[in-house]
């Protein structure tokens, strides 16, 4: 059977569309879905979760920024009060002011929007999670477009 569309998430998950079937291969499972049993496709974005993570990310970012400025001001005060002997301690405090927030923000990754596409089948549905900003998302979009082309009003 000729492959019409295919995508792979580079973690062992592969979905392939042919003229009659959809083949889904994942680590430890394999499914084949007949297109005649497919009623529709759906897309869902988990905006609520993304928004929650975004709020947390921004809050952490603000905390790191406040920390940075407090220590930079402290470094300035140390420098002014004990100049010229306080240059090295001031540099150390300034280093802490810049280094620690950077370290914390590196650990705190920017949130990713979780998206799902759903194959609506007779007697249930099948949901697949994907990331829209990922490089494989173009292939997923193409796959969905091709699956949509197989949907008809009448048989």
């Amino acid at each position: 059977m000729e492959t019409v569309a295919e995508f792979n998430d580079n973690h062992g998950f592969n979905v392939r569309l042919t003229n009659e079937k959809i083949f889904i291969d994942a680590a430890g499972s394999s499914e084949t879905i007949a297109l005649r049993g497919l009623n529709g496709v759906g897309l869902y974005d988990n905006i609520e979760k993304y928004n929650k993570e975004l709020v947390q990310y921004k809050t952490d970012g603000k905390g790191a920024e406040v920390f940075k400025w407090i220590f930079l001001v402290l470094a300035g005060i140390i420098l002014i009060i004990g100049f010229p002997n306080s240059v090295i301690p001031a540099i150390i405090v300034a280093g802490i002011a810049i280094g620690i927030p950077k370290l914390l923000m590196n650990k705190n990754k920017e949130p990713i929007l979780d998206s799902y596409f759903r194959l609506m089948l007779s007697g249930g549905d099948r949901k697949f999670k994907f990331n829209k900003s990922d490089e494989t998302s173009v292939k997923i979009a193409d796959f969905i477009n091709k699956v949509e082309d197989t949907l008809t009003a009448y048989k």
Partner: protein, 67 residues
């Protein structure tokens, strides 16, 4: 007979207090839920630019719109 009315009174008190507790707990939960929802809506409005970007400014959305 007076024993009957004593039990009746105790049961009535019990039921009334149970009902009042239910009303209080329900209103607390409802207010908390409403506050959470309002806060969520507020933060969503605040983050609408980032949310729109995450939803539409990507290769997936462009490829889907072409079809």
């Amino acid at each position: 007979m007076s024993e009957f009315w004593n039990i009746f009174k105790k049961t009535a008190y019990f039921r009334a207090s149970w009902h009042i507790q239910d009303v209080l707990i329900d209103s607390y939960n409802k207010v908390r839920y409403d506050i959470e929802k309002a806060e969520q809506m507020r933060s969503m409005r605040e983050n609408r630019k980032e949310i729109n970007t995450a939803l539409n400014d990507n290769a997936f959305a462009r490829k889907r719109k072409k079809s």
